[in-house]
């Protein structure tokens, strides 16, 4: 095996010489209350090994029984992805020796997936790209390992590992695309748009909370390159567990550059698993797959086949939510937004948040203004998604209401949001604790107005003489004296009243 030491090629240069072919495998942890084959709770973040039982630990004599809700969610995901639903299919045992599964096998599906042959349309820059779906199947998640010893805490070089099986047996849906060709230089954006659209669709169905940061949606990204004009695909690499939308895009981009560098230097791309590093945006080699894995799949003897009755499938079809793309078009019309503004909100992940903020009582324009303005700025500063900010739509709606009722102005409202984000509590509590309410009671405000008039006799004379526009300067002085907390409209009224021109 030859190793090349040349570095990655620039992205544009790589795209001039090669065409990328993509494949995406996405795992979604379903949001059922109990695990796939036993009654253990699926709650995230429990104390280690407190959500386990003889079935999910693979103890002798324990027998699995499939969770009906997980089957229904999987069929719904398949239907929403325009798939055919199997008339009859089976679970299969995937045999492997790795301690993240205590049974030494994982219950999965092999050549009989529950759903197959579908597609998902995604929009990039106003162009629709159809991503074809190979299969959607149901399996069980694995446990979590901590690697102890060695220098890096990674599996290589570890002395031993410690395993928590709380996650083992949680229902996991795997969604596999067919090879995605013809995306050309848009490949990274198509990959990201696909995962984004898939996430929204699964969330709309209510099948999962699809939190990438908690690992309930994980993505494996396959990339290969072929010389321009060629029709023969190159060898692909498989980058595992890419755990944010931004990383999906970066992983595709970095693999294109890396593989182009290898190929241009006369090397060959190795079929292997690679790991994505969030800090550098690059991938490094994991275990090589050149020796094909032999999982010895066979039909799971402890579970009988699934034969979804067509009436059942039809009922599930009627329960599907409005498709996210249709919903976006409807909301865009309701909110009166341009394509550009709507696309910006979609890319920022703001649509659900704005919708929830409106539902919590904020006017549409205000809800959009806060999420796409101040809050988007703060999310950007911290390099997190909007949804990860520690502020709820209800809290944003309350801030918008306080502005609408005149208790806050925009400047004060930004300080209230800052307080909420800093963990100081609900907006009303922040207003009180920080003393942020607008001063509009005539007593306190009147005193300030009198002082400002006394301090600016020339301006006051102009106003008395009829130059009402000059009142702006005095309002400014009042705002300054109250550090922005005065009700500017009421201050203006008081100034004109005092000077006898109202």
């Amino acid at each position: 095996m030859s190793t090349t030491t040349t570095g990655p090629m620039g992205y544009d240069e790589a795209l001039e010489a090669y065409e990328p072919v993509l494949g995406l495998e996405t795992h979604v942890e379903l949001g059922t209350a109990s695990k796939m084959f036993c009654g253990c709770s699926t709650t995230f973040g429990g104390e280690p090994n407190t959500q386990v039982c003889p079935v999910c630990l693979g103890l002798p004599g324990a027998l699995p029984v499939a969770n009906a809700a997980a089957i229904e969610y999987t069929i719904k995901i398949g239907l929403a992805l325009n798939c055919s639903i199997a008339e009859w299919c089976r679970f299969a045992r995937k045999n492997y020796f790795y301690p993240d599964m205590p049974k030494n096998f994982q219950i999965s599906q092999y050549d009989e997936p529950l759903c197959f042959d579908g597609y998902l349309d995604v929009e990039i820059d106003g162009r629709t790209v159809r991503v074809e779906i190979e299969r959607v199947h149901l399996e069980e998640d694995t446990g979590k390992s901590l690697h102890v010893g060695g220098s890096t805490g990674r599996i290589h070089g570890a002395d031993y590992s410690l395993v928590d099986y709380n996650r083992a047996g949680i229902p996991l849906v795997e969604i596999v695309t067919k090879p995605i060709v013809g995306t050309d230089r848009l490949a990274p954006e198509v990959a990201r748009a696909y995962v984004t659209e898939l996430r929204e669709l699964v969330r709309a169905i209510g099948a999962s909370d699809v939190r990438m940061e908690e690992g309930s949606l994980r993505c494996d990204v396959n990339v290969s390159l072929m010389p321009r004009g060629s029709s023969e695909w190159g060898t692909r690499s498989e980058t595992k567990n890419v755990n944010s939308l931004r990383s999906v895009e970066r992983a595709v981009r970095s693999e294109i550059s890396r593989q182009a560098g290898v190929l241009a230097a006369g090397g060959r791309v190795v079929q292997e698993t690679r790991h994505f590093h969030e800090d550098t945006g690059e991938t490094t080699s994991g275990r090589s797959k050149e020796e094909a894995q032999d999982y010895r799949y066979f039909p799971e003897p402890d579970l009988v086949p699934i034969a979804p009755d067509r009436a059942w499938v039809d009922r599930l079809r009627t329960e599907l939510p409005e498709p996210p793309s249709v919903r976006r078009r409807r909301l865009q019309a309701e909110w009166g937004l341009s394509d550009l503004d709507m696309a910006a909100m979609h890319n920022a992940g703001a649509i659900e948040l704005v919708e929830a903020t409106i539902a919590a009582g904020a006017p549409a324009a205000d809800a959009r203004k806060w999420w796409m303005g101040e809050l988007a700025r703060r999310a950007n500063e911290q390099a997190v998604e909007l949804v990860e900010l520690p502020v709820t739509p209800a809290q944003v709606a309350r801030v918008a209401q306080l502005v609408a009722s005149g208790s806050l102005n925009d400047k004060l409202a930004r300080q209230v949001l800052e307080g909420v984000l800093a963990g100081e509590g609900e907006p009303d509590k922040v207003v009180e604790a920080r003393g942020l309410a607008i001063v509009s009671d005539d007593g306190a405000l009147g005193d300030v107005v009198d002082q400002v008039i006394a301090d600016n006799p020339d301006v006051a004379d102009k106003i008395r003489g009829g130059k009402v526009a000059a009142a702006g300067a005095l309002v400014g002085a009042v705002m300054k004296a109250t550090r922005g907390q005065a009700d500017a409209g009421r201050a203006r009224e008081l100034i004109l009243e005092r000077l006898g021109v109202s």
Binding site: N49, R90, F97, I155, H156, L162, D164, V304, A307
Partner: protein
């Protein structure tokens, strides 16, 4: 012709993480060949109109409702493990040092 070769048995033993000696391989290859040949006689009576089956009973769609049942206590769960550390199962090194 044998139904399974000695090499295939060695391959399966490796996949199953069973350390079989040369004599054991000779012995088991012969035995497995007998067993598989015996089972293969089913083919003689299975006509084209009989689909292959993986289950003895004609059952489908055996599901349970999505409800939570009590789990084992952590103490009970860990009590069967050869080794534990703190709240977790302890397992030997998984991969050897990167070559």
């Amino acid at each position: 012709m044998s139904a399974i070769t000695r090499d295939e048995v060695a391959h399966l033993a490796r996949l199953s993480r069973l350390a079989l000696g040369e004599e054991e391989l000779d012995h088991l290859a012969g035995q497995l060949d007998d067993i598989i040949s015996a089972v293969a006689r089913v083919r003689e009576v299975a006509a084209d109109d009989i689909p292959p089956s993986s289950h003895a009973l004609p059952l489908v769609n055996v599901f349970r409702a999505d409800g939570i049942r009590p789990c084992l206590s952590r103490e009970d769960a860990l009590s069967q493990a050869p080794a534990t550390e703190g709240d977790r199962f302890k397992v030997p090194r998984i991969l050897d040092e990167e070559a």
